[in-house]
Symmetry: C2
Subunit: 333 residues, 2 copies
């Protein structure tokens, strides 16, 4: 057992019945395969806002985008996680035994818990418990303010694994918020030059321009003209626009937390022979590589860094139309 084990009580945000509040909770303990990580920064994303609106009936500590430092980890791990080591963590906690884990699709583990989302406490707290197998060390030259984007950047990178892109495709990105901005940067970094984005807010358009991605007005979107469209809006109208803009045999990527069922025209899906691809989590290693070599710098997306104790205000700020990334910083231990 390593030293610097935290005290017995910590400050956490607690979400239950759509109500967010600060409270005290027992500090996580180290046990088999699990590290305790002191949270340095944590980001609020669209899924957190959905959880706060009641999605998935989550009750517990939310927060799944985080950077922290190891305070304690099991001795017996082959790669020791020295206290103070800065880390990010993958959020799907797998069983390693079910059919999906055995097939190598461990983010789809049939018994999975998801840190801060499903059955497992998250990082809007002083400390978070993370399976050692989920940890990734952060290169020294990646500051916390960039590293905290590892999880959403990995999610943005997942598009590459789900859709073959050679850079020649005309792509429409619907939604230029938190996730959309990262998707725009990923596509630019991978040579997609024929990329346009729908951005409703001036700051979103400025951030797109800084990433060399032209914004297009909704009224100027060409019907049935894009090879690939990507909805990061999570809204029914955004999904409909992404569908409307797609050419026959094109690919519509759904890259956001939608709130359940949508009407979808399957007659036209068949007539136009389109492909619809759902995409959720992605690979951390290339995300960290992008952050380390500077090919993607997400820090301009930060709107504000608030103390953890202001979590309610932070959630309210993140829910404002046009808001980008709000980070929470827990107090010193």
């Amino acid at each position: 057992m390593q030293d610097k084990v935290p005290g017995t009580v910590m400050r956490v945000t607690w979400l239950e019945g759509g109500e967010l509040q600060m409270r005290e909770a027992a500090t996580p303990r180290v046990d088999a395969g699990q590290a305790v990580v002191r949270v340095r920064l944590a980001g609020i994303c669209g899924t957190d806002l959905e959880l706060a609106r009641g999605y998935a009936a989550f009750a517990g500590i939310p927060g799944h985008e985080f950077v922290g430092e190891v305070v304690a980890a099991p001795d017996d791990d082959a790669t020791p996680w020295t206290p103070g080591r800065r880390v990010v963590g993958e959020i799907n906690v797998r069983c390693d035994a079910c059919r999906e884990c055995r097939a190598g699709r461990d983010t789809h583990c049939l018994r999975r818990k998801v840190i801060g989302i499903r059955g497992r406490d998250g990082a809007f707290a002083d400390y978070v418990r993370v399976p050692v197998a989920n940890l990734h060390a952060i290169p020294d030259d990646v500051p916390d303010e960039a590293a905290v984007f590892a999880e959403p950047l990995a999610a943005a990178l997942a598009i590459r694994d789900r859709v073959r892109l050679d850079g020649s495709e005309r792509i429409l990105l619907v939604g230029a918020g938190r996730l959309g901005q990262l998707v725009a940067r990923v596509l630019r970094a991978h040579g997609c030059t024929k990329l346009e984005a729908i951005a409703r807010h001036p700051r979103q358009r400025a951030l797109l321009a800084a990433a060399d991605v032209p914004a297009v007005a909704e009224d100027d979107v060409e019907h049935a003209a894009y090879d690939v469209t990507i909805d990061t809006s999570g809204s029914e109208s955004g999904l409909a626009l992404a569908r409307w803009a797609l050419r026959p045999r094109g690919t519509l990527v759904v890259k956001s937390t939608h709130h359940g069922a949508r009407d979808f025209d399957f007659a036209q899906l068949v007539v136009d022979e389109i492909t619809v691809v759902g995409s959720r989590c992605g690979p951390f290693a290339p995300a960290l590589a992008h952050l380390a070599n500077g090919t993607i710098d997400p820090r301009p997306l930060i709107d504000a860094i608030l103390p953890l104790t202001d979590a309610r205000a932070a959630f309210a700020a993140a829910a404002r139309p046009g808001a980008l990334k709000i980070l929470l910083r827990p107090g010193a231990p």
Copy 2:
């Protein structure tokens, strides 16, 4: 101009306002780029039944699966179509000028007409007019009763072009009717051995068994266990079952005429990272090759061959639950 030009009047079926009737109509004339084909056999498919129920507000002569013989074709064509030559015809009539045609997706021509389906008369008639560019000659050893399946077999073959299959996939086929039986045979011919099919009717199950495809009872379908599921049912319940059986990151192929909008859970599409692929028309050349070399023999699917004048009875027979292929044979000219 070639000889054997038909008389001025022919017998046709006429569909309008969901009503099917026999009537006389002017025999088509040869003009630029168009051949006149005497219909030898024509098949009724699910789309015809949908049209008869009012889908797409079609008014005209239906029928898009046919085998016939050329009676007249323009002189000036580079490959002369000798009178008597047996042919099948692709159904999408393209403009060769629009963005989709120029991109090589001519079945998605923005100004397309579709023989017997959209803006162009079909083959439930003594004669049908077909663009010379759409004709395919039939090898001598392929009988009419097999050749008439060229169009739906091509549609079944389209799955190969839309989804990469290496034969190792566990596949569930939902629906073992007209199109489902052809899809089953295509997948077997392409080495997909881990294929199961849902068949509601004893004759459908017998036909699957003859093609070496095991039938599975709906209650025995394993949840989230199939790599690929294919809905050929066209029903809401069939689509739901195909979705339910699909594993995370699996591919759901929609291979049927659905009647408009369906409720679809986009939250779960994202969580499970599935892919949904619409598929419509396919390539005639490999379909004819399968028929010529006998790797696929669709003739056991024929329920009955009725005279064209019995079209209403034929449509009623084709609409019976469990019905397979009903063919129409126009009278001698």
